[in-house]
């Protein structure tokens, strides 16, 4: 058992006028995460301490916070690996604080909503399931697969030096989502999103500090997405489109789905 200090920046938007620091002493053991340390504080020392978590396994993106001046997931960070006697915790930077370690992520989600983060098809011809489908090759999938593993935790937004000054800057997460849909071969919404990409507070303010990529817990690489999007904008400016959108493939739908399922069922029965 090891004693480690947790120095936490506390603030409640309802009652406090200014944030203040409070230190707790936590008994740690190997394998314990920062999140478990917080749970111990709430159980034994202070029931009013607030933070947000859900999955405890780096999937939901609720528990991002500033751990020793670095935006990270509390559930994904081992206390042992920090090799510090004092762990400082703050709510994510560049977001308003709701309470203690809980940031108000609404500004990020509003920007995300504004960039139309869904498949757009000109003429609305998204095929109905079972009738036909849009074919996508593995190469086409690779164009956006990396960017689709974002869990919207906001760590990149807290690390971004541009966002640290300009609250209207779209920021790494919404911009990555923009590129994720732009580079999907099923999507034709590039021109609709162009206004957002081209405007003030958008990609022209990114100069590859690459802090977002460095802190992203899922390896999404927002900085790469933004630079690739810049290239797409340049190509678009000179009227070079890099790809033609996927076309509905009717023959795909004629596949007998029952025949596809059959071997799976027989395998199960054998077991």
């Amino acid at each position: 058992m090891n004693q480690i200090k947790f120095k936490i920046r506390r603030y409640s938007s309802a009652t406090d006028t200014a944030p203040y620091w409070q230190t707790f002493s936590v008994e740690t053991e190997p394998g314990m995460t920062v999140l478990q340390g917080l749970q111990q504080i709430r159980e034994r020392l202070d029931a009013t301490l607030a933070w947000r978590h859900s999955c405890r396994m780096g999937v939901c993106g609720s528990c991002a916070m500033i751990i020793n001046s670095e935006p990270q997931l509390a559930c994904n960070t081992q206390i042992q690996n920090l090799s510090a006697q004092m762990i400082t915790l703050e709510a994510l930077w560049n977001f308003p604080v709701a309470k203690d370690l809980v940031p108000d992520l609404m500004p990020m989600f509003e920007k995300h909503r504004d960039i139309a983060p869904y498949l757009i098809r000109d003429g609305g011809d998204l095929p109905k399931p079972g009738e036909s489908e849009l074919r996508q090759s593995p190469e086409e999938l690779n164009e956006f697969l990396q960017f689709s593993s974002c869990i919207k935790c906001g760590a990149c937004m807290a690390a971004c030096p541009t966002l640290a000054n300009d609250p209207h800057f779209l920021g790494p997460m919404p911009l990555t989502a923009t590129h994720r849909y732009n580079s999907d071969s099923r999507d034709t919404g590039f021109s609709k999103r162009k206004e957002k990409m081209d405007g003030h507070h958008s990609i022209a303010h990114c100069h590859y500090a690459a802090e977002c990529t460095r802190v992203c817990p899922k390896g999404v690489d927002p900085a790469r997405a933004i630079q690739l999007m810049k290239r797409d904008l340049v190509l678009d400016l000179f009227h070079f489109s890099r790809r033609s959108p996927a076309q509905p493939c009717d023959t795909c739908a004629t596949v007998d789905h029952d025949s596809l399922k059959a071997p799976v069922f027989t395998a199960r029965e054998k077991n």
């Binding site: 944030p19 001046s69 604080v97 590859y208 690459a210 630079q227 810049k230």
Partner: protein
């Protein structure tokens, strides 16, 4: 949803300096901006200084002799350093911002090796060249009495 007001927690220009432990590229970003502002200041002064030649040979030579003092020479060296850094880091940024030096999208498998690793060899080479040129400039400054 009710907008939460009060503590905005934006860390502002503090982020540029020491808010957080930056990666190397994060510090280059800050240096690129600082050197850029310095160069713009220098350029404005440069335009007016060289403009003095319109006032004739005497004014020009008087101004030029003023620029040979040690303080001025040192400031000039700083401008030189800023220029060399800005130029070579700029080459990297051009390649990156046109989407050339960041690599293609990859499978995010831990440990993640993203665009930072892709551009790193380029960054290291350019920073070594920068260091060499800055050192050479320093020697030149010491060797020639201006």
């Amino acid at each position: 949803m009710k907008q939460i007001t009060g503590n905005s927690n934006r860390i502002g220009i503090w982020r540029w300096l020491m808010g957080g432990r930056h990666g190397f590229e994060g510090y280059l970003y800050v240096l690129h901006r600082i050197s850029g502002v310095a160069l713009l200041l220098f350029l404005s002064m440069h335009v007016f200084f060289t403009g003095s030649r319109l006032l004739g040979q005497e004014t020009w030579e008087r101004l030029m002799s003023m620029t040979r003092g040690p303080v001025f020479v040192f400031l000039e060296y700083l401008v030189y350093c800023a220029f060399i850094f800005h130029a070579f880091n700029g080459v990297r940024l051009i390649l990156i911002e046109l989407g050339i030096a960041v690599g293609r999208p990859d499978h995010p498998v831990f440990p993640y090796r993203g665009s930072i690793h892709k551009q790193r060899p380029l960054m290291i080479v350019l920073m070594i060249v920068t260091g060499i040129l800055i050192a050479l400039g320093g020697f030149d400054l010491l060797r020639f009495p201006h």
